[in-house]
């Protein structure tokens, strides 16, 4: 800026008006040089505390070159990353072309399995790139990343695991930590059994909720000693090559060990908690539909609402628990509407009406 001003002064006087030549605020004819510029860094003067004087060797300082060419830019990290991504894209494109995977015909591209990326948010990238990620910059970055993602899809489908892993290593740096949660949004949470084989599910109806823990009833297995003895006999016969006379087949009636389910609701047996038979039947309905009446023990904590709401919530909780133990029942229960949360709630009262729908008595006059 000062350079500009001095150049004004150096121009021929005839060209400029008189007040421009000699300005009140103009300081000197000499250009202003900051004192720091006058310091000779290679040959500094004697240090203040230094009394000895004498010759000192001039300090040899070699300025190290910056790590990256974008060091002197205002956003070095950002530009570096852009360059890296573009390089990566270039390399991958080259590799895919070599493998004759690019250009991909339309039908092949359409048949690729989906690979939904979930990139970091603008704020997260701001921290990563050490610069404010405006929309333009964010879009630029995500465009490059999406391109890489496309190549990843192609590489993975084609079976180029090395290439795909390489792309993954780059892309994973920019993927959001909430990717799984985002992709699983709207889907039913998968219920996992704990170390004892118990499932924990929740059922709801109106304002009632039921927390249900289910565990399979332990089946005692008994091996009949008779079967073992018969097998041994057979082996002996075969060893000696003696032919056995055809024996009449006896139908053995197997003793089926019947187990029963125990259902505890708020630590009380089902018949003590629900006195109405209809409520009790609702609790066992999922078992009847699935055909597993004596197979599971249930412990539930129900809260809120009234008896019917609580029994319906318990029904849903038990149904979800059964699906957790036996995933093959999913479709059957969905069709029987057992796992469905009944969306019906108490309708609000409206102004001008006595209740939700009930109107006041109509008066002619």
């Amino acid at each position: 800026m000062n350079v500009l001003r001095t150049s004004v002064h150096l121009l021929p006087a005839t060209r400029l008006p008189r007040h421009a030549i000699q300005r009140a605020y103009a300081t000197t004819a000499r250009p202003f040089v900051p004192p720091a510029q006058l310091r000779d860094l290679d040959n500094p003067g004697p240090r203040r505390g230094d009394r000895q004087g004498g010759d000192r060797e001039p300090r040899q300082r070699v300025k190290p070159p910056p790590e990256s060419p974008s060091f002197y830019t205002s956003r070095p990290v950002y530009y570096d990353q852009i360059i890296q991504l573009e390089k990566a894209i270039g390399q991958v494109r080259g590799s895919l072309k070599t493998l004759q995977l690019l250009p991909l015909p339309a039908f092949a591209r359409a048949s690729l399995p989906p690979l939904h990326p979930v990139w970091k948010t603008q704020d997260e990238m701001t921290l990563d790139f050490e610069t404010k990620m405006t929309t333009t910059r964010y879009r630029k970055v995500t465009k490059l990343l999406s391109q890489l993602n496309e190549y990843n899809r192609i590489a993975r489908t084609a079976g180029c695991t090395e290439l795909a892993d390489g792309i993954d290593s780059i892309v994973s740096m920019f993927e959001s930590g909430k990717k799984d949660a985002f992709l699983a949004r709207g889907k039913r949470k998968v219920v996992i059994l704990d170390e004892f084989g118990r499932s924990y599910t929740v059922g709801r109806r109106k304002t009632s909720s039921a927390r249900v823990w289910m565990i399979p009833v332990r089946q005692e297995k008994k091996e009949s000693p008779k079967a073992v003895a018969v097998e041994e006999e057979l082996n002996m016969e075969e060893l000696f090559g003696v032919e056995r006379a055809a024996e009449p087949e006896t139908v053995k009636m197997e003793q089926v060990k019947v187990t029963t389910s125990t259902i505890l609701v708020n630590n009380l047996p089902l018949n003590e908690y629900f006195s109405v038979p209809a409520d009790r039947e609702r609790a066992t309905r999922p078992f009847k539909v699935a055909g597993v009446l004596g197979a599971y023990n249930v412990f539930a904590i129900v809260r809120g609402g009234g008896t019917t709401g609580q029994s319906d919530a318990l029904l849903q909780g038990i149904a979800k628990g059964l699906v957790a133990h036996e995933p093959e029942l999913t479709t059957m229960f969905r069709r029987a509407k057992l796992t469905r949360r009944d969306p019906r709630m108490v309708e609000r009262k409206k102004t001008g009406l006595a209740k939700a729908r009930k109107r006041y008595t109509w008066v002619k006059r």
Partner: protein
């Protein structure tokens, strides 16, 4: 159309043969092997059930069923063994109260014990509804001699019933000492049935209480036949009665003759030389709940935290000494439940496509509780 005009065979339900064919309830059938056996009560003319009556809920159930029957349970066999031991011993050692959750089968077990004893030749006194002794339904009059309120009508009915039920055994027993009454003296050597007839002939029923007491005294001294006193709704005897004295104060149960008599045999103040006392509690009637004194004596858990400062009647607590609790299991075993289900199936109570599923679902829903299994399960179901 009048009922008599309905002559079509479809309307003749009472004469139609029942499809319910069961074994008989005999002492030989009560064994460990037979646990789960459905047994029919053969009710001859002098059966305790016909003469003494039944608790309300059991009466209703027997009306619905085509035949009165029950299932031999594990606890039945246990009770049978207890009674067999008690046959030769004093009733002091065998004063048992059947306890358990509501609907677990106490009254049924008591009935099975009564039937077993009757068929084994015991002398039986069965009181199916002890609440009728304390709810002011039977007349009472103050007796100067004993200084308590006597209940002559109930005494009269009890004597009548005891005679009908136990006539052969009472004919064989005789009065040991002469009895002096107001109008006559009954000499020693009279048969006990003749003694009872004296009371029954008296229209004023004044001497009934005395004769009942004498009868029981004779029965407690004799050793030929063991005696069973069975009381259902036993806890009503230990609650406040509905009776009022002339000053409108509540009369305590031990100031009424019949409850006092039963409580004395229960507490061991009087005892039979050979015999037993069996009681069964009932929690169907909130007017006569389980009192604190009985809970203490039988060591039954409290419904809410209890402290030593809660009111307990010392007089009533005296009559709870020495009572033993026999806990009836709250759940039916699968074998017993299966048997019970089959009784109702054969009696056409259910029209089900899949009896196995229905059975197991009702068992799970009722949690094995017998009353809930039958009444809220089998009889109240709306499912196929």
């Amino acid at each position: 159309m009048a009922v008599t005009n309905l002559t079509e065979p479809i309307f003749q339900s009472e004469t139609r043969n029942s499809t319910l064919i069961l074994s008989k309830f005999t002492p030989e059938n009560i064994t460990k092997k037979n646990i789960g056996l459905a047994a029919e009560f053969s009710l001859p003319e002098n059966d305790p059930v016909r003469i003494f009556g039944l608790p309300k809920k059991m009466l209703l159930e027997f009306r619905i069923l085509s035949k009165p029957c029950s299932v031999v349970r594990g606890v039945t066999v246990e009770t049978k063994e207890l009674l067999d031991n008690a046959k030769e011993r004093s009733s002091l050692d065998m004063r048992v109260v059947l306890t358990g959750r509501s609907g677990c089968g106490k009254s049924y077990l008591l009935l099975q014990a009564v039937e077993y004893c009757k068929q084994n030749g015991w002398i039986v006194l069965y009181i199916p509804r002890a609440t009728n002794l304390v709810n002011s339904t039977t007349p009472y009059v103050y007796d100067l001699r004993t200084q308590i309120y006597s209940q002559p009508t109930f005494a009269y009915q009890t004597l009548q019933r005891m005679l009908t039920v136990n006539r052969p055994t009472l004919d064989a027993l005789e009065l040991q000492t002469a009895l002096v009454l107001e109008k006559q003296t009954v000499p020693a050597g009279t048969t006990l049935s003749a003694l009872i007839n004296i009371a029954l002939k008296d229209k004023s029923k004044a001497s009934c209480m005395v004769i009942l007491e004498t009868l029981l005294k004779e029965l407690s001294e004799q050793t030929k036949y063991p005696v069973l006193v069975a009381v259902d709704e036993f806890q009503a005897l230990y609650n406040k009665t509905m009776y009022r004295d002339p000053h409108f104060n509540t009369i305590a149960p031990y100031h009424l003759s019949m409850p006092r008599l039963l409580m004395e045999y229960a507490s061991g103040r009087r005892s039979f030389a050979k015999g037993a006392f069996l009681g069964a509690v009932n929690d169907s009637d909130p007017m006569y709940p389980m009192p604190l004194e009985l809970r203490d004596a039988l060591q039954i858990e409290y419904m809410r935290p209890m402290s030593p400062y809660d009111k307990r009647s010392a007089g009533i607590a005296e009559y709870t000494k020495g009572l033993r609790a026999l806990s009836v299991p709250e759940k039916l075993t699968l074998a017993e439940a299966t048997s019970l289900f089959e009784i109702w199936m054969k009696d056409r109570a259910l029209a089900t496509v899949n009896p196995d599923t229905t059975f197991l679902s009702k068992y799970v829903e009722s949690g094995g509780n017998p009353r809930d299994f039958v009444w809220k399960g089998i009889l109240s179901t709306i499912e196929a």
